[in-house]
């Protein structure tokens, strides 16, 4: 520990949610079947695809983009509503703005999740969709990232994701006494010196990729 005093007040409603989808681990033919995508996309979201100015976004990729957004929103909300069950059709995407080009920028989205309005940013590149959700449209305090790893085994991915986010947290907070634990809802939380910091963390992994996000306000 470097003597830096961490002063983060626990904030009950502070949250973060993320997700990652490795497209090579999905089945494009199955994803494009109505009986599959209709369990993820509402009718309005299916129509949104036709109106979208989408540079090179195939329909199955759009379906997984929406899945990733909805799963991230679910994880954001579950921290404050532990009883929540993931139901993609109950989380709706009302606006989706594509990046200026397929190679650069985010897909930005507005999401309705019960009474809450949330916002997402998604990267779609190198065959991976990475999403983070916030209730702040500017994502001012949100840090997020992803990384490929050698193993696709669940235990290896989980350990690598935890190690990666701890590394990012240590660099941000300038502390080396940080630990990750899960709260009663199973959501990751950060401890500093054994005490809760109130910093919410979200982790995701799929195939050979891991992703993380956290919210930190100085």
């Amino acid at each position: 520990m470097n003597g830096y005093s961490l002063q983060v007040k626990p904030q009950r409603r502070f949250s973060t949610g993320n997700d990652i989808v490795a497209l090579r681990a999905t089945q494009p033919d199955r994803t494009s079947l109505p009986r599959f995508y209709s369990r993820i996309l509402t009718v309005a979201e299916q129509e949104l695809y036709d109106r979208l100015e989408r540079p090179g976004l195939a329909f199955d990729h759009y379906t997984w983009l929406c899945w990733s957004i909805k799963e991230s929103a679910y994880k954001f909300n579950k921290r404050n509503s532990p009883e929540l069950v993931f139901s993609p059709l109950r989380i709706t995407i009302s606006e989706l703005l594509p990046p200026a080009s397929a190679a650069e920028g985010y897909y930005r989205c507005k999401i309705t999740c019960g009474p809450a309005i949330l916002y997402s940013r998604s990267l779609l590149r190198d065959g991976v969709i990475v999403t983070v959700v916030s209730d702040d449209p500017q994502f001012t305090n949100t840090r997020w990232g992803f990384q490929p790893i050698g193993s696709s085994a669940h235990a290896d991915q989980s350990a690598a994701a935890r190690a990666l986010v701890l590394q990012e947290l240590q660099a941000t907070l300038h502390r080396d006494d940080l630990q990750l634990q899960k709260d009663e809802a199973g959501c990751p939380i950060v401890l500093a010196g054994g005490l809760p910091t109130g910093i919410p963390v979200s982790l995701a992994h799929h195939d050979h990729y891991i992703a993380w996000s956290f919210n930190y306000c100085h």
Binding site: A25, R30, R39, I40, S87, R90, H154
Partner: protein, 83 residues
């Protein structure tokens, strides 16, 4: 179909999406598909569609969102099969 018969068939539905196949030998009705079997959430729609084919039933959206434990899967499938 009784619950035991549904469970045996359900293991076959879950098998392609379960990394550690040994876990399937010890599942019970409390087993959580994501937390315990480590099924990636992106495969949950696959599980529902495969269950529909396996049991020749149609699982509506409201029923599908209840299918997060082995027990709740059996509840839904049993209801649909016996309709």
């Amino acid at each position: 179909m009784d619950r035991r018969a549904i469970l045996e068939e359900l293991k076959k539905v879950l098998e392609p999406y379960t990394e550690n196949k040994e876990l399937l030998g010890n599942i019970d009705e409390q087993t959580d598909l994501v937390k315990d079997l480590k099924i990636n959430s992106s495969n949950l729609v696959d599980v529902i569609i495969d269950a529909e084919a396996k049991y020749d039933v149609e699982i509506d959206f409201d029923s599908a969102e209840k299918m997060f434990t082995v027990g709740s899967c059996i509840d839904v499938i049993q209801e649909k099969v016996n309709k």
